[in-house]
């Protein structure tokens, strides 16, 4: 009689063990997701009654220039910093991974610190640095004679996008460098020794051994950065409030604006749903590429 009971336990136990995650997932993730899908089909000011209006919010959203602009902005900001970040990150990682480097721990930490310093505090420092009239960056550039007129870092669309991109770069360079470093550490030293014996220079082995072998990690970083860029919020919110002319408006910032500033929760939810679908598609595409390489 003992054996069947034991078997039954064996059958049930795993589900009990994993249930905490699923219970929390249902309460804090699945339910809110389904609920916001429902809200996206209504007209709701956050407090009163919800009026069911079908797909009107979506129709409005697809004809809303701001929404398309926010996606375009994210794509531009992505292009401005991600290639640079991955390239510089990889170079820094290989320097930190080499035998001759001293003080590795210090540099690793120094590069990573920007990532866990409060982003709000960093944003305010950037505002001071980038201030057109008397910011440090413009003062320095002017004093060394590189520019005559102050650069409107936060006051013209392209400079503002660049400023946001640079701030994101500053925050996430160290993080991506660490990811790449773990990738590098998995590469066998034998390969480099063999290449050395064959007479390859350091630069050649970087391009022909390092880069191909960390490709997987690079793709992983790209996926993370894609999601990160499209859901950027704090940086543009504090630096530029999405301006000028919505040039640094991101989908999440737009969602915030519609919900908590304009009290259009139905419309804001439709942004959330579209954003969710878009991110899922992009991630699936990127994971597809990721798989093929394997």
């Amino acid at each position: 009689m003992k054996a069947p009971k034991w078997n039954k336990q064996m059958l049930v136990a795993p589900y009990i063990y994993i249930s905490p995650y699923f219970i929390l997932f249902f309460i804090f993730s699945l339910y809110p997701i389904l609920y916001s899908i429902y809200i996206s089909l209504t007209d709701w000011n956050g407090s009163g009654e919800k009026v069911f209006i079908g797909f009107d919010n979506y129709m409005q959203l697809f004809s809303d220039n701001d929404f398309w602009l926010s996606l375009w902005n994210s794509a531009l900001i992505f292009l401005m910093y991600v290639p640079l970040m991955l390239f510089v990150g990889l170079i820094l990682a290989s320097i930190l991974n080499s035998n001759w480097m001293v003080g590795k721990g210090f540099f690793r930490m120094a590069l990573f610190v920007p990532n866990f310093v409060s982003v709000v505090a960093v944003s305010f420092v950037f505002i001071l640095l980038l201030n057109t009239q008397d910011g440090l960056i413009n003062s320095v550039l002017r004093n060394i004679g590189l520019i005559d007129n102050p650069i409107p870092w936060l006051e013209s669309p392209w400079w503002a996008r660049l400023s946001v991109a640079m701030m994101v770069l500053y925050r996430w360079l160290g993080y991506n460098m660490l990811l790449l470093l773990t990738g590098l550490q998995n590469i066998s030293k034998d390969l480099y020794e063999a290449a050395y014996v064959d007479g390859a220079t350091k630069i050649k082995s970087f391009f022909y051994i390092t880069i191909p072998l960390v490709k997987k990690m690079l793709l992983f970083c790209t996926v993370l950065s894609t999601i990160g860029t499209f859901s950027l919020f704090t940086e543009p919110y504090i630096l530029t409030q999405g301006g000028p002319l919505n040039s640094t408006l991101t989908p999440v910032l737009m969602l915030y604006r519609e919900s908590f500033q304009n009290f259009n929760f139905g419309y804001a939810s439709s942004i959330a749903v579209c954003f969710f679908v878009l991110m899922m598609v992009i991630s699936l595409v990127q994971m597809r590429i990721f798989d093929e390489k394997e």
């Binding site: 956050g46 407090s47 008397d134 006051e155 500033q261 304009n262």
Partner: protein, 441 residues
């Protein structure tokens, strides 16, 4: 061995913390069981507020505690914009906390529209005529009143008399008001100031304007983003006139390019690069305490210019706050007692005016403290100017879509200055967008 010892230390720590936690949670009910000294049950009210407004209420807290010993007040401070979104969440879940919220007039109508505040129509009835009339409109929906007016921001002109003197302009407040009667006079003065001193007339951003100057100029003429029927009015000729005036000021280089009330703007004030601030009375504290404490005696205050000499109203309002009660509050009676004590009595209001620079929405024209000279502002009785401005303010409301209209207006300037779009087209586009977003005509 060492590892084991560390483990023991950890376990002991854990046990001790568990024990204290257990004890403290056991203590609590015991404490609340002890009867209140007055015999009455103590009521605790939670008030959501921002720092500068709390400074005002603090001045009256001792008197309040003496009068209502059974009401305990807990202030929770946060940024005003955070306050609104947090309140929205707590009210949509039917939360009884906070009992009282502070709302700026700029956002009041928007909050009233979501039906989350307690109807206090009967309670405020005795105060209807004691407050500046314009304050009630944003607090009202369907003839029901949902908030009690607190303070106003009567718009006046602060100016640097040293820069004015250098430019050959008068410096005495009366004479300045006489010399700069209209916005055209203001423009002429701006050119003089620029030519003689190099300073700019005022500060406003081309691409990230707060629109405060523009809104004050609309307000004093009874114009607004929306007209009396609630239709979008941004593309009317009168408003275009004002926009064109401000564009002219910018294009002729008479304006310091920084958003008002930001650090770059304040630093320019400190460095004497800005000659005037046309803004709400609360700018006195910003100039005196925050940005320019060293310039005692250099600033004066007078009435703001008008559009045309014959205009009936000359003043405008900028900001100002209100107190309102949560619809779901468990203690609406006590909450109203608090609000009435703070805002309904002239004594409390005057204290907040003299001590915290909050100019009352309550009409206090006869109060002696209006005559008090301000040391920083050349011993001028500046509050008299505020009262005069308030008495001449057009009775206008911010309306519920003001926050959105304000945001869209910022982009109008950016379109004009960055993309060289004509003011006509920029205003028309903005009006159309506002119409479609607010479903107005």
């Amino acid at each position: 061995m060492r590892k084991k010892r560390v483990l023991y230390v950890l376990i002991t720590c854990l046990l001790v913390s568990l024990l204290t936690a257990a004890c403290s949670s056991g203590d609590k009910p015991a404490e609340s069981q002890s009867p209140g000294e007055s015999g009455d049950e103590k009521v605790k009210l939670v008030v959501w507020i921002w720092e500068t407004a709390k400074d005002g209420l603090d001045l009256n807290m001792d008197a309040f505690k003496a009068k209502y010993p059974n009401i305990e007040i807990e202030f929770q401070t946060m940024k005003s914009t955070d306050l609104y979104s947090k309140y929205l969440i707590s009210s949509s879940t039917g939360d009884a906390v906070p009992d009282i919220i502070t709302v700026e007039s700029t956002n009041l109508s928007q909050i009233v529209q979501i039906d989350a505040l307690l109807d206090i129509t009967d309670r405020v009835a005795p105060y209807k005529d004691k407050m500046s009339a314009y304050k009630w409109e944003d607090a009202t929906k369907d003839d029901k009143v949902y908030a009690m007016p607190w303070d106003s921001g009567p718009v006046v002109m602060f100016y640097r008399n040293d820069l004015f003197a250098q430019a050959g302009l008068p410096t005495d407040p009366e004479e300045v008001a006489q010399k700069i009667q209209t916005w055209d006079d203001y423009y002429e003065a701006a050119k003089l100031v620029k030519e003689k001193t190099g300073a700019m007339m005022y500060g406003d951003s081309k691409t990230n304007s707060s629109n405060r100057m523009f809104e004050s100029m609309m307000w004093q003429r009874g114009l607004w983003y929306f007209d009396g029927d609630g239709n979008v009015a941004v593309d009317t000729p009168e408003i275009k006139e004002i926009a064109d005036y401000l564009i002219k000021m910018q294009n002729e280089g008479l304006v310091y390019d920084a958003r008002a009330n930001t650090d770059p703007w304040g630093n320019a004030i400190r460095d004497g690069q800005i000659a005037t601030v046309v803004g709400g009375s609360w700018h006195d504290a910003i100039i005196e305490n925050q940005y320019s404490p060293a310039d005692k005696g250099k600033w004066s205050v007078t009435m703001m210019p008008k559009w045309s000499k014959d205009d009936k109203y000359s003043g405008a309002n900028q900001g100002g706050a209100n107190l309102a009660i949560n619809k779901n509050s468990k203690h609406p009676e006590e909450a109203w007692q608090f609000i009435e004590f703070m805002l309904g009595s002239e004594e409390s209001q005057i204290k907040m005016m003299t001590g915290a620079g909050l100019f009352p929405a309550m009409l206090v024209d006869d109060n002696a403290s209006l005559e008090e000279p301000s040391e920083y502002f050349n011993n001028e009785p500046i509050r008299k100017v505020y009262a005069q401005s308030l008495a001449n303010t057009y009775p206008l409301a911010y309306t519920s879509d003001f926050p959105m209209a304000n945001k869209l207006m910022t982009d109008v300037w950016a379109e004009v200055f960055l993309n060289k779009v004509s003011s006509d087209k920029a205003l028309k586009d903005m009006a159309d967008e506002l119409r479609s977003k607010t479903k107005r005509n």
